[in-house]
């Protein structure tokens, strides 16, 4: 049973450390080349979009083709601001983790357009079911950085009361669901939320995001089946950032087909989009939202992007991919590309970019200073350990109250 006799197909290995980066597998379409179907178009006319790639920005930074959402420069500037804030916030929190002041962190660098353009294309009362790499949704919806930082600190202002690892936020009034550490669970839950919205006759939709790696979980199949059967008003987003920790998107089933192409098999339109093209992401999200609102059912969107940083603070990507791979990524950087486009429109400059970064950095520092006053591991106030026993049930059962009292006695209170 030696390996050379085996007929088992193992997907080809991606470029590994020491090898030149290789993105020859990545199929793209020229900007502006993919048609934009009517939202009522039959599935067969939409099907080619699952293997093409919707792109609006060309290499020169001009917006072209039928998917151009024709956003005002002011809106684009807002989008740029959210993306830059997301990136600088991530960078700052990573440094804070390295200093040992939070236990863990996970960046979304390189993928900011997916979340920011997505949130901007939806309405504030649409319900979002994110994965752990969608911090841009929080930023675009205006959650204060202080609140996010307090969650990462598990301090006295932590929305989770110390119950969750850093970045696993939630925001009830902002219509963003709790992030789970267990992959893929949010995907079918978003479908259920959307089914309830339809059942209640509400004009709201749900949108969920999942990594391409996590699409292998059965929950992905549950989501697509339920969404299709009930024609739920939901947008199902696969964020294909090429990597799931150390395994390439081929191990998730991306070798012979796209992730968008999963949709048509279930009767759901699947659209593949350049995830680093702010305008294209916005346009496709808008198209899917309109379909959902008009009662035309779910859409599956594959956002093709690149995880520019480590998976999290727990791993070192130089062990499994070439260090220079990020630079070879054919779809560039979402922030640089939007900047370029704004420059082409005459609505941006290097100077303004510089001022924006400085302003946002100062804001982040200010927020951290405030967050720290609500407690850090080494100083300031801390949560009451007795909160440990709250919220297991709505009312604390007697048996649990006894355990709480036991701990209280042990801690000398």
């Amino acid at each position: 049973m030696a390996a050379h006799e085996s007929r088992l197909h193992i997907p080809p290995s991606p470029a590994r450390p020491g090898e030149p980066p290789d993105f020859s597998y990545l199929k793209t379409s020229p900007a502006g080349s993919v048609p934009r179907p009517e939202i009522t178009a039959p599935l067969v006319t939409i099907e080619p979009l699952a293997s093409e790639m919707v792109r609006v920005l060309d290499d020169a930074g001009t917006a072209i083709g039928p998917w151009n959402p024709h956003l005002d420069p002011e809106d684009l500037q807002v989008g740029l601001r959210h993306m830059v804030l997301t990136r600088r916030f991530d960078d700052r929190m990573l440094r804070i983790q390295r200093q040992g002041r939070i236990t863990f962190y996970l960046k979304s660098s390189g993928e900011e357009a997916v979340s920011v353009a997505g949130a901007m294309a939806l309405r504030p009362d649409d319900m979002l079911f994110p994965s752990y790499r969608n911090q841009g949704l929080y930023i675009a919806r205006g959650r204060s950085l202080v609140d996010l930082m307090c969650q990462c600190l598990s301090n006295t202002r932590d929305m989770c009361k110390g119950r969750q690892m850093p970045v696993l936020y939630h925001w009830g009034s902002g219509n963003i669901f709790s992030i789970s550490g267990n992959l893929a669970t949010q995907f079918p839950q978003a479908v259920g939320w959307a089914m309830a919205a339809a059942l209640k006759g509400e004009d709201r939709l749900a949108s969920s995001w999942i990594g391409e790696g996590a699409t292998a979980e059965a929950d992905f199949h549950h989501a697509l089946t339920f969404a299709a059967v009930y024609q739920a008003p939901v947008i199902l987003n696969v964020v294909n950032n090429q990597w799931a920790i150390s395994t390439s998107q081929k191990i998730a089933g991306g070798e012979l087909s796209t992730f968008a192409a999963r949709g048509p098999g279930y009767g759901i339109p699947g659209i593949r989009v350049d995830g680093n093209d702010f305008l294209a992401v916005y346009a496709v999200m808008q198209w899917a939202a309109e379909r959902a609102r008009r009662g035309n059912g779910p859409t599956l969107i594959e956002h093709v992007t690149y995880r520019a940083s480590a998976h999290s603070t727990s791993d070192d990507p130089s062990r499994y991919r070439p260090q220079e791979e990020g630079r070879a990524w054919p779809l560039g950087d979402p922030i640089a590309r939007l900047e370029r486009h704004l420059e082409v429109l005459g609505a941006w400059s290097a100077d303004r970019q510089d001022r924006l970064e400085k302003e946002l950095d100062a804001h982040i520092v200010e927020c951290w200073r405030e967050a720290a006053t609500y407690g850090t591991p080494s100083e300031g106030p801390s949560l009451d350990p007795m909160t440990l026993f709250e919220d297991v049930f709505k009312e604390m059962p007697k048996s649990l109250a006894r355990q709480r009292d036991e701990l209280k006695a042990l801690l000398g209170g």
């Binding site: 193992i10 009361k161 789970s180 992959l183 297991v392 649990l400």
Partner: protein, 338 residues
């Protein structure tokens, strides 16, 4: 003799078995090229090839289901679940299929699958990287459940698990991967090289699946523990200053009731410790067994020291963790009761 930490011991067991038995395959998320997020499979794909050390899609249900199919077709798969907290998508495949295959086919079909998974807390991993779900699996008839407390046992028990023709759930307490953590998190970490059970033979050997080990002999009280809690119990005994007998169960199913009950009959007192939550935890089974077998010898009610009945928190990990102080208090309680 080579010194190994628990990660290296697991790696060595897999290496030995891949080398000896061509039907052994290792599979799981990130286990191949990367060598696993805890590095338990480091170097194995390079040595045995991509066809025997297989990177899988992220789908625990798929991993266990495929392992069952491979097992039915004569392979001996060793599947890794990246964290025990992520085993639940595989629950149906384990409970309804893996555990019952032999029974429902009157022995015509079976799958010799070993499912490894890191478990336990103490690494600031919050509720999705800290759980101890062993009690959920000990309640299922037809699977063996193992949890080592040191590198020597880890290797010997894992070899036995892979060689066993029945399915085995093999829990690896991740807090002791690198050293025998005794619950005192203020102290600097101690490496396995300072512990006699860090001496691990390089080749093939087994530790049987059904035998507990007395890690400290004593006359006054029996402490039943497994995994990380064996070391925490040792610290608690030093703290309490009592002549305690500590039993490392090693295999939870099948359980070595002889070793544990003859000890309790001797000491007349029993303290049970585990990291997992208390209600319907494995401690309840141990307590019932001790009561049934040793009732007339007991001098005091049996005590359980466990995680609180809440999800595993991120803050207050050490208030949650059943550390030496809580165990010492329970020892005191049983000593004073008689």
């Amino acid at each position: 003799m080579p010194q190994m930490n628990l990660v290296q011991a697991v790696n060595s067991a897999l290496d030995v078995m891949l080398g000896r038995d061509p039907s052994v395959v290792v599979m799981g998320e990130d286990v191949g090229y990367f060598g696993g997020v805890f590095r338990c499979t480091e170097g194995l794909q390079r040595k045995y090839g991509e066809h025997r050390v297989i990177d899988t899609p992220i789908a625990e249900g798929g991993i266990v289901a495929a392992a069952i199919g491979m097992g039915v077709n004569g392979l001996r798969p060793v599947a890794e679940i990246q964290f025990a907290d992520y085993v639940y998508p595989a629950f149906d495949q384990i409970v309804s299929e893996l555990a019952r295959l032999r029974y429902r086919t009157a022995g015509e079909f079976s799958a010799a699958v070993t499912v490894r998974m890191p478990c336990g807390g103490g690494i600031r991993g919050g509720q999705t990287h800290s759980q101890s779900p062993e009690g959920i699996f000990t309640h299922v008839c037809g699977i063996k459940v193992v949890m080592p407390s040191n590198p020597y046992d880890a290797k010997g028990l894992l070899v036995s698990s892979i060689e066993d023709d029945d399915p085995v759930i093999f829990f690896e307490p991740k807090r002791i991967y690198n050293g025998p953590f005794d619950g005192d998190w203020h102290k600097p970490a101690v490496p396995w090289s300072t512990h006699s059970k860090g001496d691990v033979p390089a080749g093939h050997y087994t530790v049987p699946l059904c035998r507990a080990e007395i890690v400290r002999t004593g006359a006054d009280v029996t402490i039943l523990a497994y995994g990380t809690m064996v070391h925490v119990a040792e610290a608690a005994v030093r703290l309490a200053g009592v002549d305690a007998e500590i039993i490392d169960l090693r295999t939870l199913v099948p359980l070595d009731t002889d070793t544990m009950c003859s000890s309790v009959c001797k000491t007349g007192r029993c303290v049970i410790v585990h990291e997992a939550t208390r209600f319907s935890g494995f401690g309840a089974e141990l307590s019932a067994t001790v009561q049934e077998e040793c009732f007339w010898h007991l001098l005091a009610p049996i005590q359980r020291v466990t995680g609180w009945d809440t999800p595993y928190p991120h803050a207050f990990e050490w208030e949650y963790f059943p550390g030496p102080a809580r165990i010492a208090a329970a020892i005191k309680t049983v000593m004073e009761a008689s």
